[in-house]
């Protein structure tokens, strides 16, 4: 899989119910930092962070500052929005490597 590199701030998703809005930016050498705000934080906050961290790791992103506003999104939505925002931040918006994504996202 082509290596993703966070070049610029990007945003994906919406603030509507059952969705989440995720913003990502560089975090030079400071690892993955997630600022989460969720309507279901108490029940699912830990799981939401896990899904985002796993997805970023699958995309081989090691440094990123992430801000998330969740409105009760399902795991599949969280994964999809995270994949989208990494593609946008890396400037990859054409010729998406679906095969590579499917190798881990099944």
């Amino acid at each position: 899989m082509a290596k993703f590199e966070i070049k610029d701030q990007a945003i994906a998703g919406t603030l509507e119910s059952s969705d989440l809005q995720i913003t990502i930016d560089q975090n030079n050498g400071k690892g993955i930092e997630i600022d989460l705000q969720s309507s279901v934080e108490f029940q699912f906050g830990k799981r939401i962070r896990e899904v985002i961290t796993e997805t970023l790791s699958n995309l081989e992103i090691t440094d990123a500052k992430v801000s998330v506003v969740d409105q009760g999104a399902l795991d599949c939505t969280i994964i999809a929005r995270t994949i989208a925002v990494v593609h946008r931040a890396s400037g990859v918006t054409e010729n998406i490597d679906w095969e590579a994504l499917e190798s881990w996202n099944v």
Partner: protein
């Protein structure tokens, strides 16, 4: 699901009337200082509206039958995407204290407030905290630190005199140059000229304001009560953000301002500044410098640049600024300004 459409309020009279009427029903006055206006429609019925000016959300209203969250979420999502698509990295909103929670629920964070009047919120990944972190490295623990905030459009002998006076009076001076690009001279050039003009003072540090000095350009008037004094509230908000966050982070105990003998707005501003800042931060007003019998001001410099009267300008600006104005880069910028460059006439 309701759909969102752009409202061409400045092109279509009937759309404009509908928009103004809708806002009035929500007790909000419309503001002409908006770039894009959007409406949320349920069928043909307008149920919410919101506008954008640069990266600021303005004139937001939702029909009371649809205030449950879904409509506002849809509208704000849309406005934010529009702002980010235009390359901004942050998004701001001014709102009434009683609607602050709705915005916080959507990921906005409070920067400052004027009790009972308004709250200023930000949505950004690298927001106010990151800004404070970035300037904190220049903080001095010892001695007295002071601050000056200036637009420096462009840097004149008057600005230089103000900085020199402050630098002589206290141990350290931070000069904050407005980062907003709404002036004849771009922010990068303004900062560069300030840095050149104070380089002989070794206790002066030049910093950016980020988006955290409230400017009258972006400050909204539309939901303040008719009787409220817009300038005063703007100044109070600006002063409280400065005092509570910036001055604390930077150990600033004095703020210097230039005297503005002819500007009523500046007088109101300085009075409000004094009320909010003191006693924690002392306000000191420095009388304006005169060159012969001419009061130096950046406005006067720009007037004479329009007239191509560089000889006169030479008397009002330090050699560092004059050297820039006569350089190739400076000449082409003056040419732009004279030809109605993108931000001509704005102060």
């Amino acid at each position: 699901m309701a759909d969102i459409r752009r409202l061409f309020v400045h092109q279509q009279r009937d759309v404009y009337d509908m928009w103004v009427g809708f806002l009035n029903q929500a007790n909000i006055r419309h503001e002409d200082n908006v770039e894009f206006v959007y409406g949320v429609f349920e069928g043909d019925q307008l149920i919410a509206t919101g506008s954008i000016y640069q990266n600021i959300l303005k004139c937001i209203a939702v029909c009371k039958d649809f205030t449950g969250g879904a409509t506002l979420s849809q509208l704000i999502s849309h406005l934010m995407s529009e702002v980010m698509d235009r390359g901004f990295k942050a998004c701001y909103v001014y709102t009434k204290p009683d609607t602050t929670q709705s915005f916080e629920y959507l990921g906005f964070k409070e920067i400052g407030r004027v009790d009972g009047e308004l709250v200023f919120l930000e949505k950004a990944i690298n927001g106010f905290d990151s800004y404070l972190e970035s300037i904190q490295q220049y903080r001095h623990e010892d001695g007295v630190s002071a601050a000056i905030v200036m637009n420096a459009n462009p840097f004149t002998k008057g600005h230089q005199y103000l900085v020199e006076s402050a630098a002589a009076a206290v141990d350290y001076v931070f000069v904050f140059v407005l980062s907003e690009d709404a002036s004849a001279f771009p922010a990068a050039v303004r900062k560069q000229l300030v840095m050149a003009g104070v380089s002989h003072l070794d206790n002066v540090t030049v910093l950016d304001t980020g988006s955290y000095m409230v400017s009258s350009q972006t400050f909204p008037s539309y939901f303040l009560k008719e009787s409220s004094d817009v300038t005063r509230i703007q100044a109070e908000l600006d002063a409280s953000i400065f005092k509570n966050r910036i001055a604390k982070t930077m150990n600033i105990r004095v703020r210097f301002v230039g005297e503005e003998p002819f500007s009523e707005a500046t007088n109101i501003y300085n009075t409000a500044l004094k009320t909010v800042l003191e006693p924690e931060v002392q306000l000191r007003i420095i009388p304006r410098k005169q060159e012969g019998d001419v009061v130096i001001s950046a406005t006067r410099v720009r007037e004479h640049l329009y007239l191509n009267d560089l000889e006169f300008v030479k008397e009002l600006v330090p050699t560092t600024t004059y050297d820039y104005l006569t350089s190739q880069a400076g000449q082409s910028l003056i040419e732009d300004i004279r030809n109605g460059g993108k931000s001509i006439g704005k102060v």
